[in-house]
Protein backbone atom coordinates (compact mmCIF):
# COMPACT_ATOMS: atom_id res chain seq x y z
CA UNK A 1 0.00 0.00 0.00
CA UNK A 2 1.20 3.48 -0.74
CA UNK A 3 0.06 6.99 0.13
CA UNK A 4 1.45 10.27 -1.15
CA UNK A 5 2.49 12.98 1.28
CA UNK A 6 2.86 16.65 0.43
CA UNK A 7 5.32 18.67 2.51
CA UNK A 8 4.60 22.42 2.62
CA UNK A 9 7.42 24.90 2.06
CA UNK A 10 7.95 25.78 5.75
CA UNK A 11 8.56 22.12 6.64
CA UNK A 12 10.88 21.42 3.72
CA UNK A 13 13.88 22.72 5.63
CA UNK A 14 13.51 19.55 7.71
CA UNK A 15 13.26 17.31 4.61
CA UNK A 16 16.25 18.67 2.70
CA UNK A 17 13.89 20.34 0.26
CA UNK A 18 11.81 17.25 -0.51
CA UNK A 19 8.31 18.44 -1.38
CA UNK A 20 6.50 15.21 -2.05
CA UNK A 21 7.05 11.59 -1.14
CA UNK A 22 5.35 8.22 -1.08
CA UNK A 23 4.97 6.28 2.14
CA UNK A 24 3.81 2.82 3.12
CA UNK A 25 2.54 4.06 6.49
CA UNK A 26 -0.89 2.83 7.48
CA UNK A 27 -1.54 5.40 10.21
CA UNK A 28 -0.51 8.89 11.25
CA UNK A 29 1.74 7.43 13.92
CA UNK A 30 3.52 5.23 11.37
CA UNK A 31 3.84 8.19 9.02
CA UNK A 32 5.66 10.25 11.64
CA UNK A 33 8.00 7.29 12.30
CA UNK A 34 8.60 6.88 8.55
CA UNK A 35 9.37 10.60 8.15
CA UNK A 36 11.73 10.57 11.14
CA UNK A 37 13.55 7.58 9.64
CA UNK A 38 14.15 9.46 6.41
CA UNK A 39 14.65 12.93 7.86
CA UNK A 40 16.06 12.56 11.38
CA UNK A 41 14.89 15.42 13.61
CA UNK A 42 11.61 16.18 11.86
CA UNK A 43 9.43 14.32 14.37
CA UNK A 44 9.97 16.82 17.17
CA UNK A 45 8.46 19.49 14.95
CA UNK A 46 5.38 17.33 14.35
CA UNK A 47 4.84 15.94 17.85
CA UNK A 48 5.11 17.78 21.15
CA UNK A 49 7.05 16.63 24.22
CA UNK A 50 4.11 14.48 25.30
CA UNK A 51 4.09 12.68 21.97
CA UNK A 52 0.88 14.33 20.79
CA UNK A 53 0.59 15.75 17.27
CA UNK A 54 1.31 19.45 17.74
CA UNK A 55 -1.95 21.31 18.28
CA UNK A 56 -1.32 23.80 15.49
CA UNK A 57 -0.30 21.24 12.85
CA UNK A 58 -3.20 20.41 10.54
CA UNK A 59 -3.26 17.15 8.61
CA UNK A 60 -5.59 16.60 5.69
CA UNK A 61 -6.34 13.31 3.93
CA UNK A 62 -7.81 13.81 0.45
CA UNK A 63 -8.68 17.37 1.53
CA UNK A 64 -10.52 16.23 4.67
CA UNK A 65 -9.19 17.21 8.11
CA UNK A 66 -7.93 13.95 9.60
CA UNK A 67 -9.72 14.81 12.84
CA UNK A 68 -13.03 14.24 11.00
CA UNK A 69 -11.76 10.79 10.00
CA UNK A 70 -10.83 9.61 13.48
CA UNK A 71 -7.45 11.33 13.84
CA UNK A 72 -4.69 8.99 14.97
CA UNK A 73 -7.00 5.97 14.66
CA UNK A 74 -7.58 6.59 10.94
CA UNK A 75 -6.11 3.82 8.74
CA UNK A 76 -4.69 5.14 5.47
CA UNK A 77 -6.08 3.66 2.27
CA UNK A 78 -4.25 2.97 -0.99
CA UNK A 79 -3.73 6.21 -2.88
CA UNK A 80 -4.60 8.57 0.00
CA UNK A 81 -3.20 12.05 -0.52
CA UNK A 82 -1.91 13.49 2.74
CA UNK A 83 -1.26 17.21 3.16
CA UNK A 84 0.50 18.77 6.15
CA UNK A 85 -0.40 22.40 6.89
CA UNK A 86 1.48 24.08 9.71
CA UNK A 87 -0.60 26.43 11.82
CA UNK A 88 -3.81 27.34 10.07
CA UNK A 89 -4.47 31.09 10.20
CA UNK A 90 -7.52 33.07 9.12
CA UNK A 91 -10.47 34.39 11.10
Amino acid sequence: MSISVEIPTPLRRFTGGVAKLDSGASSLSELVIDLEGRFPGIAKHLRDEAGQIRPFLNIYVNEEDIRFLGGESYRFKEGDKVLLVPSIAGG
Binding site: P8, T9, P10, R13, H45, D48, R54, P55, F56, L57, N58, Y60, E63, D65, R67, F68, V85, P86, S87, I88, A89, G90, G91
Partner: protein, 425 residues
Protein backbone atom coordinates in the same frame (compact mmCIF):
# COMPACT_ATOMS: atom_id res chain seq x y z
CA UNK B 1 10.25 48.50 11.07
CA UNK B 2 10.62 50.04 14.50
CA UNK B 3 12.09 48.33 17.52
CA UNK B 4 9.17 49.10 19.79
CA UNK B 5 7.60 45.75 18.84
CA UNK B 6 8.46 42.42 17.28
CA UNK B 7 7.13 38.93 16.63
CA UNK B 8 7.33 36.32 19.35
CA UNK B 9 6.22 32.69 19.36
CA UNK B 10 3.28 32.23 21.68
CA UNK B 11 4.51 28.82 22.83
CA UNK B 12 8.31 28.55 22.68
CA UNK B 13 8.95 32.28 23.06
CA UNK B 14 11.33 32.55 20.08
CA UNK B 15 11.72 36.14 18.88
CA UNK B 16 11.61 36.73 15.15
CA UNK B 17 11.89 40.49 14.59
CA UNK B 18 9.39 41.88 12.10
CA UNK B 19 8.51 39.92 8.98
CA UNK B 20 5.40 38.67 7.16
CA UNK B 21 4.98 35.37 8.98
CA UNK B 22 2.28 33.89 11.20
CA UNK B 23 3.81 30.82 12.80
CA UNK B 24 6.99 29.60 14.44
CA UNK B 25 9.18 27.40 12.24
CA UNK B 26 10.32 25.38 15.23
CA UNK B 27 7.10 24.45 17.01
CA UNK B 28 4.54 25.54 14.38
CA UNK B 29 2.73 27.66 16.98
CA UNK B 30 1.23 31.06 16.17
CA UNK B 31 3.24 34.24 16.52
CA UNK B 32 2.10 37.42 18.14
CA UNK B 33 3.43 40.91 18.63
CA UNK B 34 5.24 41.78 21.81
CA UNK B 35 6.20 45.32 22.79
CA UNK B 36 8.94 47.07 24.68
CA UNK B 37 6.52 48.30 27.34
CA UNK B 38 9.23 50.05 29.33
CA UNK B 39 9.98 52.25 26.33
CA UNK B 40 6.28 52.97 25.82
CA UNK B 41 5.33 53.64 29.44
CA UNK B 42 6.83 57.10 30.08
CA UNK B 43 5.09 58.86 27.18
CA UNK B 44 1.73 57.12 27.40
CA UNK B 45 -0.88 58.64 29.70
CA UNK B 46 -4.64 58.94 29.70
CA UNK B 47 -4.21 62.60 28.71
CA UNK B 48 -1.85 61.84 25.83
CA UNK B 49 -4.32 59.29 24.45
CA UNK B 50 -7.25 61.67 24.83
CA UNK B 51 -5.35 64.28 22.78
CA UNK B 52 -5.15 61.82 19.90
CA UNK B 53 -7.55 61.58 16.97
CA UNK B 54 -11.02 60.04 17.47
CA UNK B 55 -9.95 56.77 15.85
CA UNK B 56 -7.89 53.68 16.64
CA UNK B 57 -4.76 55.73 15.94
CA UNK B 58 -5.04 57.37 19.37
CA UNK B 59 -3.69 54.02 20.66
CA UNK B 60 -0.92 53.74 18.09
CA UNK B 61 1.77 53.45 20.79
CA UNK B 62 0.27 50.02 21.54
CA UNK B 63 -0.11 48.99 17.89
CA UNK B 64 2.61 47.60 15.58
CA UNK B 65 2.84 50.85 13.62
CA UNK B 66 6.16 52.66 13.03
CA UNK B 67 6.32 55.99 14.84
CA UNK B 68 6.79 57.99 11.64
CA UNK B 69 3.93 56.35 9.77
CA UNK B 70 0.88 58.22 8.51
CA UNK B 71 -2.15 55.99 9.07
CA UNK B 72 -4.88 55.72 6.44
CA UNK B 73 -8.58 55.91 7.25
CA UNK B 74 -9.80 57.26 10.60
CA UNK B 75 -11.06 53.83 11.65
CA UNK B 76 -12.84 52.92 14.87
CA UNK B 77 -13.68 54.85 18.04
CA UNK B 78 -17.23 53.61 17.66
CA UNK B 79 -19.93 54.46 20.21
CA UNK B 80 -20.17 52.64 23.52
CA UNK B 81 -23.85 53.15 24.31
CA UNK B 82 -25.67 52.20 27.45
CA UNK B 83 -28.52 49.82 26.80
CA UNK B 84 -31.12 50.35 29.54
CA UNK B 85 -34.06 49.05 27.50
CA UNK B 86 -32.31 45.86 26.50
CA UNK B 87 -31.11 45.58 30.09
CA UNK B 88 -34.68 45.86 31.36
CA UNK B 89 -35.84 43.17 28.94
CA UNK B 90 -33.04 40.88 30.12
CA UNK B 91 -33.22 41.78 33.80
CA UNK B 92 -29.90 43.62 34.31
CA UNK B 93 -29.11 47.25 35.09
CA UNK B 94 -25.65 48.07 33.70
CA UNK B 95 -25.59 46.88 30.13
CA UNK B 96 -23.56 48.54 27.36
CA UNK B 97 -23.25 47.92 23.63
CA UNK B 98 -19.91 48.51 21.90
CA UNK B 99 -21.33 49.31 18.51
CA UNK B 100 -19.00 48.33 15.69
CA UNK B 101 -22.05 48.03 13.43
CA UNK B 102 -21.10 51.62 12.61
CA UNK B 103 -17.34 51.19 12.31
CA UNK B 104 -15.80 53.25 9.52
CA UNK B 105 -15.46 52.58 6.60
CA UNK B 106 -17.23 49.23 6.06
CA UNK B 107 -19.43 48.77 9.14
CA UNK B 108 -17.69 45.97 11.00
CA UNK B 109 -14.86 45.56 13.50
CA UNK B 110 -12.74 44.14 10.68
CA UNK B 111 -11.98 47.72 9.64
CA UNK B 112 -9.75 47.90 12.71
CA UNK B 113 -7.63 44.86 11.95
CA UNK B 114 -7.30 45.66 8.26
CA UNK B 115 -6.12 49.19 9.05
CA UNK B 116 -3.21 47.77 11.03
CA UNK B 117 -2.53 44.95 8.55
CA UNK B 118 -2.33 47.24 5.51
CA UNK B 119 0.09 49.42 7.36
CA UNK B 120 2.30 46.35 7.80
CA UNK B 121 1.74 45.39 4.14
CA UNK B 122 3.02 48.79 3.08
CA UNK B 123 6.13 48.47 5.19
CA UNK B 124 6.89 44.97 3.93
CA UNK B 125 6.57 46.26 0.36
CA UNK B 126 3.58 44.20 -0.80
CA UNK B 127 1.69 45.43 -3.85
CA UNK B 128 -1.12 42.88 -3.63
CA UNK B 129 -3.10 42.35 -0.46
CA UNK B 130 -5.45 39.47 0.11
CA UNK B 131 -7.53 37.63 2.67
CA UNK B 132 -9.71 34.60 3.30
CA UNK B 133 -13.00 35.97 4.52
CA UNK B 134 -16.58 35.24 5.44
CA UNK B 135 -17.50 38.70 4.15
CA UNK B 136 -16.81 41.47 6.62
CA UNK B 137 -13.06 41.14 6.25
CA UNK B 138 -13.53 41.05 2.48
CA UNK B 139 -15.34 44.41 2.60
CA UNK B 140 -12.77 45.98 4.90
CA UNK B 141 -9.76 44.75 2.91
CA UNK B 142 -11.25 45.80 -0.44
CA UNK B 143 -12.17 49.30 0.76
CA UNK B 144 -8.92 50.12 2.50
CA UNK B 145 -6.84 48.56 -0.31
CA UNK B 146 -8.61 50.87 -2.77
CA UNK B 147 -7.77 53.94 -0.74
CA UNK B 148 -4.17 52.94 -0.15
CA UNK B 149 -3.43 51.86 -3.70
CA UNK B 150 -3.06 48.11 -3.23
CA UNK B 151 -4.44 45.51 -5.61
CA UNK B 152 -6.82 43.27 -3.68
CA UNK B 153 -7.56 39.58 -4.17
CA UNK B 154 -10.32 38.38 -1.88
CA UNK B 155 -11.21 34.73 -1.24
CA UNK B 156 -14.64 33.84 0.17
CA UNK B 157 -16.89 30.80 0.52
CA UNK B 158 -19.33 30.85 -2.41
CA UNK B 159 -22.42 31.00 -0.18
CA UNK B 160 -21.81 34.31 1.66
CA UNK B 161 -24.48 37.01 1.64
CA UNK B 162 -24.99 39.02 -1.54
CA UNK B 163 -24.47 42.33 0.27
CA UNK B 164 -21.00 41.20 1.27
CA UNK B 165 -20.14 40.20 -2.30
CA UNK B 166 -21.31 43.52 -3.71
CA UNK B 167 -19.65 45.35 -0.84
CA UNK B 168 -16.33 43.84 -1.92
CA UNK B 169 -16.49 44.16 -5.69
CA UNK B 170 -17.60 47.78 -5.64
CA UNK B 171 -14.09 48.78 -4.56
CA UNK B 172 -12.54 47.15 -7.60
CA UNK B 173 -11.23 44.12 -5.75
CA UNK B 174 -10.88 40.73 -7.44
CA UNK B 175 -13.34 38.45 -5.63
CA UNK B 176 -12.65 34.72 -5.84
CA UNK B 177 -15.64 32.62 -4.74
CA UNK B 178 -14.63 29.17 -3.57
CA UNK B 179 -17.04 26.25 -3.68
CA UNK B 180 -16.39 25.21 -0.11
CA UNK B 181 -16.66 26.37 3.49
CA UNK B 182 -14.47 28.96 5.17
CA UNK B 183 -12.01 26.43 6.53
CA UNK B 184 -11.39 25.14 3.01
CA UNK B 185 -10.93 28.69 1.70
CA UNK B 186 -8.50 29.31 4.50
CA UNK B 187 -6.47 26.18 3.76
CA UNK B 188 -6.20 27.22 0.12
CA UNK B 189 -4.95 30.66 1.15
CA UNK B 190 -2.31 29.03 3.37
CA UNK B 191 -1.06 27.27 0.23
CA UNK B 192 -1.27 30.36 -2.01
CA UNK B 193 0.82 32.41 0.40
CA UNK B 194 3.68 29.94 -0.09
CA UNK B 195 3.67 30.53 -3.84
CA UNK B 196 2.89 34.22 -4.30
CA UNK B 197 4.38 37.31 -2.74
CA UNK B 198 1.09 38.65 -1.48
CA UNK B 199 0.23 40.19 1.84
CA UNK B 200 -2.60 38.08 3.22
CA UNK B 201 -3.92 40.20 6.06
CA UNK B 202 -5.07 37.17 8.06
CA UNK B 203 -2.37 34.70 7.04
CA UNK B 204 1.20 35.98 6.75
CA UNK B 205 0.28 39.40 8.21
CA UNK B 206 -1.97 37.90 10.87
CA UNK B 207 0.11 38.79 13.95
CA UNK B 208 -0.02 42.49 12.94
CA UNK B 209 -3.64 42.32 11.83
CA UNK B 210 -4.85 40.70 15.06
CA UNK B 211 -3.35 43.49 17.16
CA UNK B 212 -5.97 45.82 15.64
CA UNK B 213 -8.60 43.95 17.66
CA UNK B 214 -7.08 45.30 20.86
CA UNK B 215 -8.53 48.71 20.03
CA UNK B 216 -12.02 47.39 20.89
CA UNK B 217 -10.73 46.78 24.41
CA UNK B 218 -8.89 50.12 24.66
CA UNK B 219 -12.01 51.99 23.58
CA UNK B 220 -14.30 50.13 26.00
CA UNK B 221 -12.02 51.04 28.90
CA UNK B 222 -11.61 54.68 27.87
CA UNK B 223 -15.31 55.13 27.12
CA UNK B 224 -16.25 53.69 30.51
CA UNK B 225 -14.17 56.51 32.01
CA UNK B 226 -10.88 54.61 32.19
CA UNK B 227 -12.23 51.63 34.04
CA UNK B 228 -12.81 48.03 33.13
CA UNK B 229 -16.21 46.33 32.98
CA UNK B 230 -17.11 43.25 35.03
CA UNK B 231 -18.09 41.19 31.99
CA UNK B 232 -17.53 41.26 28.25
CA UNK B 233 -19.58 39.17 25.82
CA UNK B 234 -17.76 38.59 22.54
CA UNK B 235 -18.74 36.69 19.38
CA UNK B 236 -16.17 34.09 18.38
CA UNK B 237 -15.17 32.99 14.89
CA UNK B 238 -11.40 32.45 14.76
CA UNK B 239 -11.31 33.39 18.46
CA UNK B 240 -8.82 36.25 18.12
CA UNK B 241 -11.07 39.13 19.21
CA UNK B 242 -11.78 37.79 22.70
CA UNK B 243 -8.09 37.09 23.35
CA UNK B 244 -7.07 40.52 22.07
CA UNK B 245 -9.63 42.40 24.19
CA UNK B 246 -8.11 40.56 27.12
CA UNK B 247 -4.60 41.56 26.00
CA UNK B 248 -5.77 45.17 25.70
CA UNK B 249 -7.13 45.20 29.25
CA UNK B 250 -3.94 43.56 30.56
CA UNK B 251 -1.80 46.18 28.81
CA UNK B 252 -3.86 49.05 30.23
CA UNK B 253 -3.51 47.56 33.71
CA UNK B 254 0.24 46.97 33.42
CA UNK B 255 0.80 50.50 32.07
CA UNK B 256 -1.20 51.96 34.97
CA UNK B 257 -3.91 53.44 32.75
CA UNK B 258 -6.75 51.59 34.48
CA UNK B 259 -7.14 50.07 37.92
CA UNK B 260 -6.64 46.35 38.04
CA UNK B 261 -9.80 44.33 38.44
CA UNK B 262 -11.05 40.92 37.36
CA UNK B 263 -12.96 40.92 34.08
CA UNK B 264 -14.85 37.82 33.04
CA UNK B 265 -14.83 36.96 29.35
CA UNK B 266 -17.86 35.30 27.81
CA UNK B 267 -17.69 33.81 24.31
CA UNK B 268 -20.65 33.48 21.95
CA UNK B 269 -21.10 31.14 18.99
CA UNK B 270 -23.93 29.77 16.91
CA UNK B 271 -24.76 26.19 17.84
CA UNK B 272 -24.30 25.25 14.18
CA UNK B 273 -20.64 26.20 14.47
CA UNK B 274 -19.57 25.96 18.08
CA UNK B 275 -16.14 24.33 18.44
CA UNK B 276 -15.04 26.80 21.12
CA UNK B 277 -18.21 26.89 23.22
CA UNK B 278 -18.44 23.09 23.06
CA UNK B 279 -14.90 22.81 24.44
CA UNK B 280 -15.54 25.33 27.22
CA UNK B 281 -18.81 23.68 28.24
CA UNK B 282 -17.15 20.26 28.16
CA UNK B 283 -14.16 21.44 30.22
CA UNK B 284 -11.79 20.62 27.36
CA UNK B 285 -8.55 22.49 26.75
CA UNK B 286 -8.58 21.76 23.03
CA UNK B 287 -11.48 22.03 20.62
CA UNK B 288 -12.63 19.53 18.03
CA UNK B 289 -13.16 21.07 14.58
CA UNK B 290 -16.70 21.20 13.20
CA UNK B 291 -18.37 21.57 9.82
CA UNK B 292 -20.46 24.74 10.04
CA UNK B 293 -24.23 24.71 9.53
CA UNK B 294 -25.54 28.10 10.60
CA UNK B 295 -26.88 31.28 9.03
CA UNK B 296 -24.35 33.20 11.14
CA UNK B 297 -21.88 32.91 8.28
CA UNK B 298 -19.57 35.65 9.42
CA UNK B 299 -18.59 33.56 12.46
CA UNK B 300 -18.85 30.13 10.83
CA UNK B 301 -15.28 28.93 11.31
CA UNK B 302 -15.06 25.25 12.21
CA UNK B 303 -11.28 25.21 12.77
CA UNK B 304 -10.60 28.46 14.67
CA UNK B 305 -6.96 29.59 14.57
CA UNK B 306 -7.15 31.09 18.07
CA UNK B 307 -9.62 28.57 19.45
CA UNK B 308 -7.13 27.21 21.94
CA UNK B 309 -6.29 30.68 23.25
CA UNK B 310 -9.95 31.75 23.35
CA UNK B 311 -10.77 28.70 25.50
CA UNK B 312 -7.90 29.59 27.82
CA UNK B 313 -8.91 33.27 28.06
CA UNK B 314 -12.48 32.35 28.94
CA UNK B 315 -11.65 29.66 31.47
CA UNK B 316 -8.89 31.56 33.24
CA UNK B 317 -11.08 34.66 33.57
CA UNK B 318 -13.88 32.77 35.29
CA UNK B 319 -16.15 33.39 32.32
CA UNK B 320 -18.15 30.97 30.24
CA UNK B 321 -19.21 30.30 26.68
CA UNK B 322 -22.63 29.63 25.20
CA UNK B 323 -24.17 29.05 21.83
CA UNK B 324 -27.62 29.65 20.36
CA UNK B 325 -29.70 28.25 17.52
CA UNK B 326 -30.39 30.12 14.29
CA UNK B 327 -33.93 30.84 15.52
CA UNK B 328 -32.58 32.29 18.76
CA UNK B 329 -30.02 34.44 16.94
CA UNK B 330 -32.67 35.96 14.69
CA UNK B 331 -34.65 36.76 17.83
CA UNK B 332 -31.45 38.32 19.18
CA UNK B 333 -31.19 40.61 16.14
CA UNK B 334 -34.81 41.70 16.66
CA UNK B 335 -34.36 42.17 20.39
CA UNK B 336 -31.39 44.52 20.01
CA UNK B 337 -33.09 46.48 17.23
CA UNK B 338 -36.43 46.82 19.04
CA UNK B 339 -34.94 47.73 22.40
CA UNK B 340 -31.96 49.93 21.51
CA UNK B 341 -32.34 50.90 17.87
CA UNK B 342 -29.21 49.03 16.80
CA UNK B 343 -29.48 46.78 13.76
CA UNK B 344 -26.77 44.15 13.89
CA UNK B 345 -25.89 41.23 11.64
CA UNK B 346 -26.29 37.57 12.48
CA UNK B 347 -23.14 37.49 14.63
CA UNK B 348 -24.56 40.32 16.76
CA UNK B 349 -27.78 38.36 17.07
CA UNK B 350 -25.69 35.52 18.44
CA UNK B 351 -24.01 37.84 20.96
CA UNK B 352 -27.33 39.30 22.10
CA UNK B 353 -29.07 35.94 22.38
CA UNK B 354 -26.12 34.43 24.22
CA UNK B 355 -26.13 37.36 26.65
CA UNK B 356 -29.77 36.67 27.38
CA UNK B 357 -28.93 33.03 28.01
CA UNK B 358 -26.02 33.85 30.32
CA UNK B 359 -28.21 36.20 32.35
CA UNK B 360 -30.93 33.53 32.59
CA UNK B 361 -28.30 31.06 33.79
CA UNK B 362 -27.23 33.53 36.47
CA UNK B 363 -23.69 33.73 35.10
CA UNK B 364 -24.04 37.49 34.57
CA UNK B 365 -25.44 39.34 37.57
CA UNK B 366 -28.04 42.15 37.48
CA UNK B 367 -25.79 44.89 38.90
CA UNK B 368 -22.55 44.01 37.12
CA UNK B 369 -21.25 46.18 34.28
CA UNK B 370 -21.52 44.11 31.13
CA UNK B 371 -20.42 45.08 27.62
CA UNK B 372 -21.78 43.35 24.52
CA UNK B 373 -19.43 43.52 21.55
CA UNK B 374 -21.56 44.08 18.46
CA UNK B 375 -19.19 43.56 15.57
CA UNK B 376 -21.22 43.93 12.36
CA UNK B 377 -24.12 45.66 10.63
CA UNK B 378 -27.54 44.14 9.99
CA UNK B 379 -27.88 45.67 6.54
CA UNK B 380 -25.28 43.17 5.31
CA UNK B 381 -27.23 40.09 6.36
CA UNK B 382 -30.85 40.92 5.59
CA UNK B 383 -31.10 37.50 3.90
CA UNK B 384 -31.32 36.02 7.39
CA UNK B 385 -34.53 37.95 8.05
CA UNK B 386 -36.37 36.98 4.87
CA UNK B 387 -38.77 34.75 6.83
CA UNK B 388 -39.11 37.16 9.74
CA UNK B 389 -39.73 40.57 8.23
CA UNK B 390 -42.66 40.73 5.81
CA UNK B 391 -42.89 43.64 3.36
CA UNK B 392 -46.22 45.39 4.19
CA UNK B 393 -48.97 45.76 1.57
CA UNK B 394 -49.19 49.09 -0.27
CA UNK B 395 -52.34 51.16 0.19
CA UNK B 396 -53.76 54.01 -1.87
CA UNK B 397 -52.96 57.57 -0.73
CA UNK B 398 -56.50 58.17 0.52
CA UNK B 399 -57.80 58.69 4.07
CA UNK B 400 -60.54 56.08 3.61
CA UNK B 401 -57.96 53.50 2.57
CA UNK B 402 -55.84 54.34 5.56
CA UNK B 403 -58.83 53.97 7.90
CA UNK B 404 -59.67 50.63 6.31
CA UNK B 405 -56.05 49.62 6.76
CA UNK B 406 -56.13 50.56 10.44
CA UNK B 407 -59.26 48.43 10.84
CA UNK B 408 -57.52 45.48 9.20
CA UNK B 409 -54.59 45.65 11.57
CA UNK B 410 -56.84 46.54 14.51
CA UNK B 411 -55.68 43.63 16.61
CA UNK B 412 -52.08 44.80 16.62
CA UNK B 413 -50.46 46.97 19.22
CA UNK B 414 -49.69 49.69 16.66
CA UNK B 415 -53.36 50.10 15.80
CA UNK B 416 -54.40 50.36 19.42
CA UNK B 417 -51.75 53.04 19.91
CA UNK B 418 -53.13 54.98 16.95
CA UNK B 419 -56.68 54.69 18.34
CA UNK B 420 -55.61 55.78 21.80
CA UNK B 421 -53.85 58.81 20.34
CA UNK B 422 -56.95 59.68 18.28
CA UNK B 423 -59.33 59.30 21.24
CA UNK B 424 -57.26 61.62 23.41
CA UNK B 425 -57.55 64.49 20.95
Amino acid sequence: MGERYELRCRECGARLGNQPRSFCEECLSPLEITYDYEAIRPALTRASIELGPPSIWRYRALLPIPDDDQPGFPVGFTPLVNAPHLGKRLGVRNLYVKNDAVCFPTLSFKDRVVAVALNAAKHFGFEVVSCSSTGNLANATAAQAARQGFQAWIFVPADIEQAKIIGTQIYGARLVRIAGNYDQVNRLCTQIVEKLRWGFVNVNLRPYYAEGSKTVGFEIAEQLGWRLPDNVVVPMAGGALITKIRKAFDELISLGLVEEKPVRFFGAQATGCSPITTAVKGNQERFEPQKPTTIARSIAIGNPADGYYAIRAIRSSGGWAEDVSDTELVRGIELLAESEGIFTETAGGVTTAVTRKLIQQGRIGPDETTVLCITGNGLKTTDALANTIKIPEAIAPRMTDFEAYVDRVAETEVASTVRAAGASR
